[in-house]
Point group: C2
Chain length 108, copies 2
DNA sequence: CCATTACTCACACAATGTAGTACTAACAAT
DNA sequence: ATTGTTAGTACTACATTGTGTGAGTAATGG
């Protein structure tokens, strides 16, 4: 099973599409109010890659100040599956919990 | 932040209400298709109690064969908050993800 | 006394977090 | 042009927290 942080990274990367790499993923995560240390980010990316849930490759350096080569990220089909399963597990578990709003609406 | 298993236990206990203790929580979890070893269960209950997210106490023995005293569980207000936050974090993160169905409906 | 129900313990492994290091390129000063 | 400074990026080693295992122990009713 994915951890919450792993899910977070996969989801952010999926949303960023072609623009996904360490720094943009981090911004995305912190923008949602969750802190994301650099180290935690890369170790998790490594682990996810080892599990085959995403793949990475080095791009060429861009002509920006400090434009070091980026480690680009994209989600594999397995990665999408894993994320989907995580999401559905949380949904299933949560069914009926008092802190879940609007439970009846989902049926309408 | 809660782990997935911690969330699972809090949710199961919340659903069971007065009847929540080790064995019923375990049944509840396994009924949802997720395995739940005894050891993992109690370790996690211990940790959650240490964090103040739930409280436990020993009940009297029941008059059933083998009816040993049970370690009853109930969720504290902090526990409800933590669960709620976990749920909302996952929801917020997931907004827009391709694997989430019916995204428009939530607005209606 | 023994089958049943339930909990405890000791440890192993996996996921997440922190802090610090190192590399690259633009920019600025000389 | 050379050098130093700074910003953007990636990597590594270690610390902490979360999850898993299953044998072992205790209490109770028959």
């Amino acid at each position: 099973m994915l951890g919450e942080f792993e899910y977070l990274i996969i989801t952010a990367a999926a949303g960023l599409g072609e623009r996904a790499y360490g720094a943009t993923i981090r911004e995305e995560i912190e923008a949602s109010g969750r802190s994301c240390s650099i180290g935690a980010l890369y170790t998790t990316i490594d682990r996810l890659e080892a599990k085959g849930l995403l793949k990475t490759w080095m791009s060429d350096a861009t002509p920006e100040r400090g434009g070091r080569a980026k480690r680009m990220v994209s989600i594999t089909p397995s990665g999408v599956n894993a994320a989907k399963e995580f999401y559905e597990t949380v949904m299933r578990i949560s069914r009926g919990a008092s802190w879940v709003a609007n439970q009846s609406r989902s049926v309408l």
